[in-house]
């Protein structure tokens, strides 16, 4: 696709992006032996090879990945506007739709890459250091990591839509983080309202694992898909009308 390569380069060639990818891989590798030492010392088993990758995932989807996602979105949209480099892109014979799409897809691939890195390293770490690592646990972990892409991407599309109004990457990042924290607070304090937000589904891989295809899971899937469509449309609408 036109421009996709371009956007992908912009996203991953930054020094911060490479550092973050490395950190994402190293953290689970360190967490494994640390947990092993603690568990041996106090003689309990909170995490074993089966549950360790899922524990890493639940930490990643609730804190780490939303922040990285906000960072990527603010770089690709507000950052480029701030550096005034978008004008070069706009004069090329690429439609705004294509520019918007390629930016969004790059964000999606970046997110998937992060998930895969954390998945592989936490599986490795769990297999090396912790007891009870099984084939079933491995399959479960891979499926869970892949499933987690959807609710995170729905959140990412909300960020993409909202940062269209912000012309500086640092402000866009700050805004996204505060927004995410607010969503988390709503999620905890107002369960009725939380059902209307994608943060409600941050651990939806658990629903898939446990109940498979139920009415609940299908309802939430429908919600996430239509949420994504809604903010993709609104985001593109705003992007296409913008003066740079």
């Amino acid at each position: 696709m036109l421009n996709l390569r371009n956007e992908w380069m912009k996203l991953t060639r930054r020094r911060s992006a490479i550092t973050l990818l490395v950190i994402s891989g190293v953290l689970p590798l360190i967490a494994g032996p640390v947990i092993k030492i603690l568990q041996n010392k106090f003689s309990f088993t909170a995490f074993d090879g089966e549950s360790f990758p899922l524990a890493m995932l639940s930490l990643a989807v609730s804190f780490y990945l939303p922040l990285l996602l906000a960072l990527a979105v603010s770089e690709l949209f507000s950052g480029e506007q701030e550096q005034k480099t978008l004008a070069f892109l706009l004069v090329r014979p690429i439609s705004r739709m294509n520019i918007f799409k390629s930016k969004m897809i790059s964000t999606g691939i970046y997110l998937l890459l992060l998930l895969l890195i954390i998945c592989i390293t936490s599986l490795l770490s769990g297999a090396i250091w912790l007891e009870n690592f099984t084939m079933q646990g491995l399959m479960l972990a891979v499926a869970s990591f892949l499933l987690s892409w959807f609710p995170l991407m729905a959140l990412g599309l909300l960020f993409i839509f909202l940062v269209q109004w912000i012309g500086s990457s640092s402000r866009a990042l700050t805004f996204s983080i505060i927004l995410y924290l607010a969503l988390m607070v709503v999620n905890f304090l107002f369960p009725g309202l939380a059902r209307w937000l994608p943060t409600y589904d941050s651990n939806w891989y658990q629903r898939w694992i446990n109940s498979g295809l139920s009415v609940l899971v299908m309802g939430r899937t429908l919600f996430l898909l239509s949420w994504s469509v809604l903010f993709y449309t609104l985001g593109y609408y705003k992007f296409s009308r913008k003066e740079f």
Binding site: S43, F47, E131, P191, Q206, L216, G219, F223, S226, W227
Partner: protein, 299 residues
């Protein structure tokens, strides 16, 4: 906005609402559970039939069967407990009222009586008063409970039973059980030996706790709680009359043998607000008075 965008927004908004509403309609079990717990808390008397058993690789190593009649208003109660530990049966009867606790064991003909001293009785009465939370406090507790169980509320399913009751069920697989639960359970199982020796000589009258302790296999590695199933039965008057819990734990002993330990607990409440506790007439019976050995340490 042009009409295309409006259409897309409209349709996706409608689908979103459909998704949320269908998802929340499917999980109403949690609210019923809360209502029934609140209602059941207020009963004055009940008969509870509790059965518990512990299985190790399919064979029952321990079971308890008890029928308790409790009258909270009159502050008395009685229970009949049958324990089968590794094939050995022992039966006990407990009678307690505001002044004393009487224990009768099947191992002899004596009745062991423990007087509840004045202070203790007063304390327990005060505690009892505190248990009736004020409305505000109850709301706070409910909010905390809601927050703690947030991840599980959706998973409570409800089903109509043929006897008119509603069955609520929460089936948690290994990865849904919080890490704290896993940690506590594995810690308990790994350190079970020490606990046993510490309590070996304690008891109440003829009851040596050591005899009543189940011989749980010593697990040392690969310990995990693999499944927890909780069930509740709510009758048409919204009382929580039945509760059932199955806890599955697996692990290996020092020889590397795999053990699947399962704990089943079933509790049924009956005769709500209509129960009178059994009493015992100690006249002409062999009575042994028991002193509480730990009086000095209790504070």
């Amino acid at each position: 906005m042009n009409s295309k965008v409006l259409t897309a927004v409209g349709i996706s908004g409608l689908l979103m609402a459909g998704g949320v509403l269908s998802a929340s309609a499917s999980a109403s079990g949690y609210d019923l559970f809360k209502t029934s717990v609140k209602k059941t808390q207020k009963v004055n008397s009940f008969t509870a039939h509790v059965q518990a058993s512990l299985e190790d690789n399919g064979s029952t190593i321990y079971s308890v069967d008890s029928v308790s009649k409790e009258n909270l208003k009159a502050d008395n109660g009685s229970s009949n407990v049958l324990v089968v530990n590794d094939g050995k049966k022992s039966q006990m009867n407990f009678y307690n009222d505001e002044k004393q606790t009487v224990v009768k064991s099947s191992s002899d003909n004596k009745y062991y009586v423990k007087q509840d001293n004045e202070n203790k009785w007063k304390d327990s009465k005060d505690n009892h008063k505190e248990e009736q939370f004020s409305a505000g406090k109850q709301k706070d507790i409910e909010a905390i409970f809601d927050a703690l169980t947030k991840n599980y509320q959706d998973s409570v399913t409800s089903k109509e039973l043929s006897n008119g009751n509603t069955e609520l069920k929460l089936d948690l697989s290994k990865n849904e059980i919080p890490a704290v639960g896993q940690a506590v359970m594995s810690f308990f199982l790994k350190n079970i030996d020490q606990q046993r020796s510490e309590n070996a000589h304690e008891g109440f009258g003829p009851l040596q706790y050591a005899n009543l302790k189940p011989a749980i296999p010593q697990l040392t590695s690969n310990i995990s709680v693999s499944r927890v199933v909780l069930k509740g039965e709510v009758n048409p008057h919204q009382y929580l009359t039945g509760q059932k819990a199955d806890v599955y734990v697996s692990g290996k002993d020092p020889d590397g043998t795999e053990h699947n330990v399962v704990l089943h607990i079933i509790s049924n409440l009956d005769n709500l607000n209509k129960t009178n506790a059994d009493t015992v007439d100690l006249k002409g019976k062999q009575v042994v008075k028991v002193q509480d050995r730990h009086d000095g340490h209790e504070d």
